[in-house]
């Protein structure tokens, strides 16, 4: 305010100003940095423990045979056989579920974000949230009841499982897609309209293109959410030891159901001296199937991310 202070004084004053930021604020900042790092470490602990457990228990069972054979004609306690049928079943059923859920889910998200006005949109938003709360077993019961009406009692086919899974998957796809579409700046849409591009093309070429990375993440999360479902598949698809690739005829095995089933079989009672019998083979099979399932999801994730990297527009 006044010009009479000397240069040295001014320098001293400035120095104080620049160094004396509130110690308390600094401490809070440091503490929060620690807290946030800690949060991350906290999440890594169960992850590492889980992966370690699954890997440690499952890796011993891994072999070409385990991945390429089915469990057909395998006796309890027999360390032969494999999970090929379950891998194929999981891929087909989850694939069909995604085939149903992704278009429906993404289109609904588009409807909500791009068109949604009025009571229908409000109802859809609200009930999508409600739908996330459908317990998986209820989805299974619902599908069994539905297909009993169509095919009569006792029908257990792969596509029933796919429908049950999509009931669970759709709301997750809608919710995450909606969140991602909302983040596309309005300027982009307007820029496109201003170029005379019709709305549907704007949505396809501009909105979806911009948000493709987020959408992929959302879909992958949704797939991950349902690929491990057990209860609905157990009652809607049944179990089998044999290989089946037709989701419209006959039972199929899936990895989580396989893992659960092997787990609940427990120890095999081996007679003494029977070297071909492994007591805890069922547990080993369960862990092996779990490991495979995790590997599949990891693979899907990596593929999704690569797709992302190649096609996502550079936003920033």
């Amino acid at each position: 305010m006044n010009t009479t202070i000397s240069a040295a004084e001014a320098m001293q004053q400035t120095k104080e100003m620049l160094t004396a930021s509130g110690q308390r604020r600094k401490n809070v900042d440091r503490m929060m940095t620690v807290v946030i790092w800690f949060c991350f470490a906290l999440a890594l602990a169960p992850l590492v423990s889980l992966l370690w457990t699954v890997l440690g228990n499952g890796i011993g069972r891994m072999s070409i045979d385990f991945l390429t054979l089915s469990m057909r004609n395998v006796f309890p306690g027999d360390p032969g056989g494999g999970i090929y049928h379950a891998i194929v079943g999981t891929l087909i059923i989850t694939g069909f579920a995604a085939l149903i859920s992704v278009p429906v889910g993404v289109l609904t998200a588009i409807y909500l974000v791009e068109y949604g006005r009025g009571p229908l949109a409000r109802a859809v938003t609200f009930f999508v949230d409600v739908m996330t709360g459908i317990p998986s077993i209820v989805a299974g019961l619902f599908v069994v009841a539905l297909f009993t009406l169509i095919l009569g009692p006792g029908a257990r086919i792969g596509v029933m499982g796919a429908v049950a899974l999509s009931v669970l998957m759709i709301p997750v796809v809608v919710r995450s897609s909606e969140e991602m579409l909302k983040l596309v700046p309005n300027e982009l849409r307007e820029a496109s309209y201003a170029l005379g591009v019709p709305k549907w093309l704007t949505i396809l070429r501009v909105v979806l293109r911009t948000s493709v990375a987020g959408l992929t993440t959302g879909v992958l999360l949704a797939v991950a959410r349902v690929i491990g479902e057990t209860a609905p598949l157990l009652i809607a698809v049944g179990v089998t030891d044999s290989f089946n690739v037709n989701p419209f005829d006959g039972r199929m095995m899936t990895l989580p159901v396989f893992a659960y089933r092997e787990y609940s079989q427990g120890n095999a009672p081996c007679r003494e001296g029977d070297l071909g019998c492994v007591t805890d083979i069922a547990f080993q099979n369960a862990w092996g199937a779990a490991l495979t399932l995790i590997a599949i999801v990891m693979l899907l994730n990596i593929v999704g991310r690569l797709v992302n990297r190649w096609f996502a527009p550079k936003l920033r």
């Binding site: 992966l51 999508v128 591009v197 209860a231 779990a290």
Partner: protein
Amino acid sequence: MTITDSPPSGEAPPGPRGRVVRRRASGDTERGFSRIFRWIATGAGALILAVLAAVALFLIARGWPAITATPAELADSVPRYPDDTSLVAYVGPLVFGTLLAAVLALLLATPVGMGIALFISHYAPRRLAQGLGYLVDLLAAIPSVIYGLWGFLVLAPVLKPVWFWLGENASWFPLFAGKVSATGKSIATVAVVLAVMVLPIITAVSREVFLQTPKLHEEAALALGATRWEMVRTAVLPFGRSGVISAAMLGLGRALGETMAVLMILSPGFTYSLHLLEAGNHQTIAAYIANDFPEASGLAVNTLIATGLALFVITLAVNMLARWIVARRKEFSGAN
């Protein structure tokens, strides 16, 4: 390819034919495929409502015999049904257990999930961030059966000493009172496992939203002399609030409906107990259905489905609450 067939506006006389009237708001001049596309999108939304209505109808239709049955009839045919209890009083502890487990899980997971999301979006070295995010996403990929196995075989033994310590030293606190479970199969363990399960959902959505915080706002905060945490507090968190709430709701949905992990870990019971460390006090609806469904027949099945209906209603209520919270803050929402 422009598909506008109206004449250039210069030639169009602002005439008496009311050309202006026909086109409503500027964005609504939909022709050709745009209109079809709108119907497809709307159809998808309507389809979801139809599916949900079908599920709800199914629940109501199959739950109805249990809702209309007398307590005596229910006690007769449902194995666990005590005498002289109305259906509501019977489902009550289940609702309580479901909410308790889910809320505890959410209380544990939301702060941690936000922390992880912030870590990935604003704290981690940039080169690492993506890979780390991917790691957390992996948690979502683990099937619930495996969570059940792990929670019981690995986590419970680790938590048991903690629970015993709490039971000894903090039993004055109502939540930690009572006899600590010898096997660790208590609702406290379940809540921790559920928290781990919903963590990736909360993290993934929050992370995306936090990453979208406008650079402008972050720089504005920094330029005012905010520390990194203060920048996060003033710019990132308010912007991401609605995203975090919807992330938490997604997580809550999963926690409420989670079946296998609860089924494999919890020692169920049917009380309103707040003793988190005690076994045999709580049960969640989803696990209850999965547990008793295989052996149920006749009216017992209807009763199970009626409890499923209760879960449905809970989700409805929880979501209404969440919407109300979000709507209240709408004016100051960061989106747009």
